[in-house]
Amino acid sequence: MKPFAYTAATSLDQAQEILSEEWGSRLYAGGTDLLTLTKRGTVSPDHLVDIKGLADFRYLRHLTGGGLAIGALTTLAELEANRTVHRRFPALARSIAVTGTPQLRNRATVGGNLCQQPRCWYYRGDFPCLLHGDEVCGAAKGENAYHALFGYESADGNRCVAVHPSDPAVALSALEAEVVVAVPGEAPVNWEATPIDDLFQQPTKDFPGTTILNPGDVVVEIRVPEQPKGSRQVYLKAMDRAAWAFALVSVAAVATLDGNRLADLRLALGGVAYKPWRARHAEEIARGHVVSPELVDEIVELAAEGAMPLGANEYKVPLLKGLVRQALRAVTDESRGI
C-alpha cells in the first residue's frame, strides 16, 4: 500500500468536512473491502478518515410503528446476534449469516456492506474498466461468468456489467428498507431516507460510481419497516462453494398469505444486476392470486423475464429460476401443492 495519513474522526461533521474538501481522502469503517482495494492499488487513498469510533451511529432502535432502525456502523456480527432481527426479519438475518466469514462479520459494518465495490475481476485487476476511467467495460465482451443478467441496456461496453456483491442489500430490498444519507452541511432533520434500491447506480463512462453518494455523503442509518402481519420471509443464496463466497444468484422473498391467496409478494434477486433486482412483473402477477402450481410456474418464468445473458453466465438463468421456485415453496405452504 502506498503511504496514507489516518484520522480517527471524532464527529461525523469532522469526517464529512475532510471527505468533501480533501481530494484523495476516503471514508473508512470496517475496512474489509477498502483495504483489499488499497493493497491491490485499485484505489490509492492519501488519507483514510475512520468513522468506526462514532458510537452515535452504532445502534439498533425500534421505530414507532414496529420497524427497526439500524445505525450504519453496526457490525454484521452485531446484527447477526440480535434477536429482533432473527425473529422479525429472518431474511435479513440469513443474508448476514451467509455473508463472508465470522472474522469479516466482526469487522464489516452494514453501511460499508451496502457501499462495497463490485467483485468484478476487471475492476480489481489491471484490466479495462469504466470504474478505472477506461473507455470500455472489459467484462461486457470478456470473461463474464459472474456478471449481470439485468439492468444494463446493451453489452456494447459503455455500461458496467458487474453485479452488486451484497447479500443484506437483497434482503433489505425485499423488506422495502430505506437508507438515510447524511449530506455535508445538512442538519440531521434534513437527512433524507431513500429506498434502498435507489442507493445504487450503474457505472457508466460519465458517472463511474456504484452509488449515488457524493464525496462526504455518508450512509448513517438503515430503516427496515414492519412487515405485514403473518408474512413469511426467506433468503436463499447459490454459491460455487458452500461457504465464504459471493452469490452466483440469490433470492429474497417476502410473502403475505390470506388463506391460500397471495395477498402480497416481494421478490428481490441478487448477483444478477448492479443493484438488488426486484422482479416487479412477477410480484404484480402474483398479487391477489390463489397459490397453485400454475401460478408458481408463471412467477418463476416472470422472475427471469428480460434476462440478458452475456455469454459465460447463461447458467444463471436456470439457477435463478430454481432458486425462485425454492423460495416460493419456502414462503408458501407446501401442502398447497407446489
Binding site: 502506498k2 475496512g31 465470522p102 472474522q103
Partner: protein, 176 residues
C-alpha cells in the same frame, strides 16, 4: 483525534498482556506490526487480503483478520495471538485438543484455526458442532484437515464447558 501520518506515528497497544509502544506508519497492518515490529510470527501472512484466515488474531476478544486491520487503529486496544495462549506453562484447551487429534497437517493454517476457535469458546463455552463448523469456515485448510480440526474443536469445547460448569457454583452460587 487529528490527522496522523503518513510517516511513522506512535501507537500503544497491549499484545498478549504486554503493553507496547510502536512507531508505525498508518499503512502498516496489524499483521505486519505483529510479525515485523514485535517478532510474533504465529499469525501467518498468506493471502494478505482477508480470504484465507491464516492471520486470525483476537482483537478485544473478537476474531479478526489482522491483515485487514491497521496497526494505527489498535491504539489502546488488546490483541491476543497464538503465542499468548499458554498460561503458567499450560497450553490452552484448543491447543491441547489440536495435539490430541493431530489436527495440523502442514500446520500453516493452524494458528489461525486455533485463534478462531479460541474466540468462539471465549464467547460461547457451550459451542455446538454447527458453531464450530461455522467458525472454521473463515479459515482455509488446503490440506483438508477439517475433520480433525472440527473434532479438536469439539473436544476443546467439552473441556471449556466442563471448566465453566465447575466454576459456575462459585461465581453464581446457585449451582446447576
Amino acid at each position: 483525534m487529528e490527522r496522523r501520518g503518513p510517516g511513522p506515528v506512535p501507537v500503544r497497544m497491549t499484545v498478549n498482556g504486554v503493553t507496547y509502544e510502536l512507531t508505525v506508519p498508518p499503512r502498516r497492518t496489524l499483521l505486519d506490526a505483529l510479525r515485523e515490529d514485535l517478532g510474533l510470527t504465529g499469525a501467518k501472512r498468506v493471502c494478505d487480503e482477508g480470504t484465507c484466515g491464516a492471520c486470525t488474531v483476537s482483537l478485544d476478544g473478537q476474531a479478526v483478520y489482522s491483515c485487514l486491520v491497521l496497526a494505527v487503529e489498535c491504539e489502546g486496544r488488546t490483541v491476543e495471538t497464538v503465542e499468548g495462549l499458554i498460561r503458567d506453562g499450560e497450553l490452552h484447551p484448543v491447543q491441547e485438543a489440536f495435539i490430541e487429534h493431530d489436527a495440523a497437517q502442514c500446520g500453516f493454517c493452524t494458528p489461525g484455526q486455533i485463534m478462531a476457535l479460541k474466540a468462539l469458546l471465549d464467547q460461547n463455552p457451550r459451542a455446538s458442532l454447527e458453531d464450530i463448523r461455522q467458525t472454521v469456515a473463515g479459515n482455509l485448510c488446503r490440506c483438508g484437515a477439517y475433520p480433525k480440526i472440527i473434532a479438536a474443536g469439539l473436544t476443546a469445547a467439552g473441556v471449556v464447558a466442563a471448566r465453566a460448569a465447575a466454576k459456575a457454583p462459585e461465581d453464581g452460587g446457585a449451582g446447576a
